[in-house]
């Protein structure tokens, strides 16, 4: 990367875990028992304290805002004009679009709910978050399947590299709705979960100057697409790109946070992709699968894995992967935050 970029703020909101510490505890202890449901939603209490003026936000915006607020509080204040936001969501506003359409199909097109309509663009969430936290730098909303969260992270890095922002708030979130659950072909018994996660990315020297805690450094990212039948090879290329950008060899990786989800096809691609990219080191490096504990959280999964990696890392390097499900793949290489 042309500039060093660190993660100076973390925020996560999941069922049974609010905040990075609670997330780490839940992950490291594993699940004590089966979840109450195969489709877990975030309790409304996690965002109940949000201002009344935000009552027009949809659920996606609310959970994304809750995670963002945690990350910004963790990072400390920044310059609004130099702070941007990148939001990644696999399904975005589709639940809200379905709600609006169901209303007008029942009552007629003249009787659409204008409050719901303003949330039928995924960047409504981005807009609200920008208003609440006065983020007037670069803004982007990405919906590249389950890899959208890590793609937002990559975009955030690119904006800082280009000098377009000093810091970028990167957010991933996906909600669950009956329409989505009925449409997504989930294997029998697979657990899915709502989640939102946010990171604050910052140019390294600025973070150092203001004495910010540096959770980790982003060394490299890789992003590739390809045929739906050959995602292992696509993932391998993304991993190689990320390691090339990070200027590290496979042997320098101390941990992998894999996107394996319990789905046979995805898991096969994730495993074969790692072996193709890392060679013999793939059999030696410890591989964690956060979805084993947290369930499938779609675009947020990669972001949650980044938060977990920052907790697990001391001085070593970790790889985080994501399979988009629509052909895109993302890989991110991180290093523990102690390096200056």
């Amino acid at each position: 990367m042309s500039r060093r970029i660190v993660i100076s703020g973390l925020g996560a909101v999941c069922p049974r875990a609010t905040g990075p510490t609670a997330l780490w505890e839940r992950f490291s202890q594993g699940d004590a028992g089966p979840p109450s449901s195969l489709a877990e939603r975030i309790p409304d209490a996690a965002f109940a304290k949000q201002s009344a003026q935000l009552r027009h936000m949809d659920r996606l915006g609310r959970i994304a805002l809750a995670a963002t607020t945690l990350a910004i509080e963790d990072a400390g204040p920044g310059n609004p004009l130099q702070t941007g936001i990148a939001f990644g969501s696999g399904y975005g506003c589709l639940p809200t679009n379905a709600e609006y359409l169901e209303g007008i199909l029942e009552r007629g097109g003249r009787y659409g709910n204008p409050v719901v309509f303003q949330n039928t663009v995924t960047n409504a969430a981005t807009g609200y978050i920008s208003m609440v936290h006065d983020l007037r730098g670069p803004t982007a909303t990405l919906c590249s399947g389950h890899s959208a969260g890590l793609e937002a992270l990559r975009f955030g890095c690119q904006q800082i590299e280009e000098g377009q922002a000093e810091r970028m708030v990167v957010v991933g979130a996906d909600t669950l709705s009956p329409m989505l659950l009925a449409g997504i072909a989930l294997p029998e018994g697979m657990r899915v979960s709502e989640a939102a996660c946010a990171l604050v990315l910052e140019e390294h020297t600025r973070a150092l100057t203001r004495g910010a805690h540096r959770h980790a450094e982003v060394l490299g990212t890789g992003h590739r697409g390809g045929s739906l039948t050959n995602q292992a090879h696509t993932l391998a290329r993304a991993v190689r790109d990320a390691m090339h950008m990070a200027r590290i060899e496979p042997e320098q990786l101390g941990a992998v946070f894999s996107c394996a989800s319990g789905r046979g096809d995805f898991d096969g691609w994730a495993q074969r992709g790692l072996h193709e990219a890392l060679g013999a080191h793939a059999a030696k490096v410890p591989v964690s699968c956060p979805k084993d504990v947290l369930g499938e959280t779609f675009s947020t999964a990669g972001m949650l894995a980044v938060v977990l990696a920052t907790r697990a890392l001391d001085k070593g390097c970790a790889l985080v992967t994501a399979l988009g499900g629509e052909g895109s793949t993302l890989a991110v290489v991180l290093r523990g935050g102690a390096h200056d």
Binding site: L94, L101, R110, G127, H223, G225
Partner: protein, 403 residues
């Protein structure tokens, strides 16, 4: 290492008044609008005009959402125009970055209409995610580079183009298909009707009688290429894409900041990346939706960035030619502007007859303007306070680039 230079080597158009870049150039010079008084959705008593695309050879039920069909047509045109198809091994590295606002909302409607028919629900749901459009394009042409979907309302394709520019600038891609698509949907017609954002008459950007937008559908896709890659294969270069910027208003969920605060920042960032000053910008293609709030805010942003020169830099809106194509508008209107630059012609803003004093900038009207321009900016704004500005310039070696 200095950033790579990025050039536009292919243009693909699906619009109500044109089904190729050449047809669009012709339509703009002839002031031909594709807006019809027969919108596909009547919102119970309110009838609207719209820019409807007649897609040639459309197969009604090949499983793809209409928005993907619009995108595929534009992608095919862009690739043909680029000349890449006849050349070596580029597919493995070529990326796809597409933007959309409504995405496959027609398929979502079908999912809901399917009710308890599980087979129908699952069949339509495959197309429902926003990412299905980029995936369909990548699959159709066997492209194996970066694959990405942007959903940022009316700046979607501008953002996709800007992001693709950065990927090539930073040396992480050499060829990208970038742009966006949106189809006419019941969701849009109902919602914008409820918000009273659509005109019951004519779309008149910057005119004091303006009272709303006209919706359109379409797709605009550009082939962006690293300069040396284009030169080595002897590609025809339409223009150089040299900078972009995005910024949020942080002001209101649906209305623009009255002084175009975020748009000013986006324009400033685009100029900085391009290494240009406002003095060097010869023309600005504005968003110009024809809504009461949008047009003055844009003009105010122009004054904020261009200062005294805002009164003399020519500007236009292309919305009256094919409607507001939402997520496709940024790409289609950049293409229209690049075509104008190549032909030394600034297309007029149709239907703008009595300029609003709040929009007292140099709006190109009437017959259009024969004028050489060397650099242009195209700006778009969206719900959520999102803004994007793109800067392109005439490539020094027009025509076949020297090897």
């Amino acid at each position: 290492m200095s950033p790579h230079r990025v050039v536009i080597t292919g243009l693909g158009v699906t619009a109500a008044n044109a089904l190729s870049a050449d047809e669009l150039a012709q339509a703009l010079s002839n002031r031909h609008s594709g807006i019809r008084r027969a919108a596909p959705f009547d919102i119970e008593g309110r009838t609207y005009s719209a820019g409807v695309v007649d897609l040639p050879g459309e197969t009604p039920d090949n499983g793809l959402d209409r928005v993907s069909k619009l995108a595929l047509h534009a992608a095919e045109q862009a690739l043909r125009d680029s000349g890449l198809e006849a050349q070596g091994n580029w597919r493995e590295v070529a990326g796809v970055m597409l933007g959309t606002s409504r995405g496959p909302a027609l398929s979502l409607e079908q999912v809901i209409r399917s009710g308890g028919d599980e087979d129908a629900r699952r069949r339509h749901f495959g197309e429902v995610p926003f990412s299905s459009i980029a995936r369909n394009v990548a699959d159709q042409f066997g492209l194996g580079g970066i694959l990405s979907t942007v959903t940022m309302a009316c700046v979607s394709s501008s953002l996709a183009i800007g992001r693709a520019l950065d990927e090539i600038r930073q040396g992480r891609a050499s060829v990208m298909l970038a742009g966006g698509a949106d189809a006419l949907t019941l969701l849009s017609f109902s919602g914008f009707s409820v918000l009273r954002a659509m005109t019951p008459t004519v779309c008149r950007p910057f005119d004091h009688r303006r009272n709303g937008m006209v919706l359109g559908e379409g797709a605009g896709i550009l082939v962006l290429e690293e300069l040396n890659h284009a030169r080595q294969r002897g590609a025809r270069i339409h223009a150089e894409l040299c900078g972009w910027g995005t910024a949020g208003d942080a002001h209101h969920p649906t209305s623009p900041h009255p002084e175009g605060r975020g748009l000013q920042q986006a324009m400033t960032l685009a100029l900085r990346q391009a290494g240009l000053t406002t003095e060097q910008i010869d023309f600005v293609n504005l968003h110009g939706t024809g809504t009461p709030a949008n047009d003055p805010a844009e003009c105010q942003a122009l004054r904020g960035v261009f200062g005294a020169r805002a009164a003399s830099v020519p500007v236009n809106s292309l919305k009256p030619y094919f409607g507001h194509t939402l997520g496709a508008s940024g790409a289609l209107e950049l293409i229209g502007s690049v075509l104008g630059m190549a032909r030394d012609f600034l297309p007029p803003t149709l239907n703008c007859e009595e300029l609003d004093p709040k929009c007292d900038v140099d709006v190109v009207r009437g017959e259009g303007r024969a004028q050489r321009i060397d650099t242009l900016m195209s700006t778009k704004s969206a719900f959520g306070g999102a803004n994007v500005a793109l800067v392109a310039r005439r490539f020094p070696e027009t025509g076949r680039a020297a090897r």
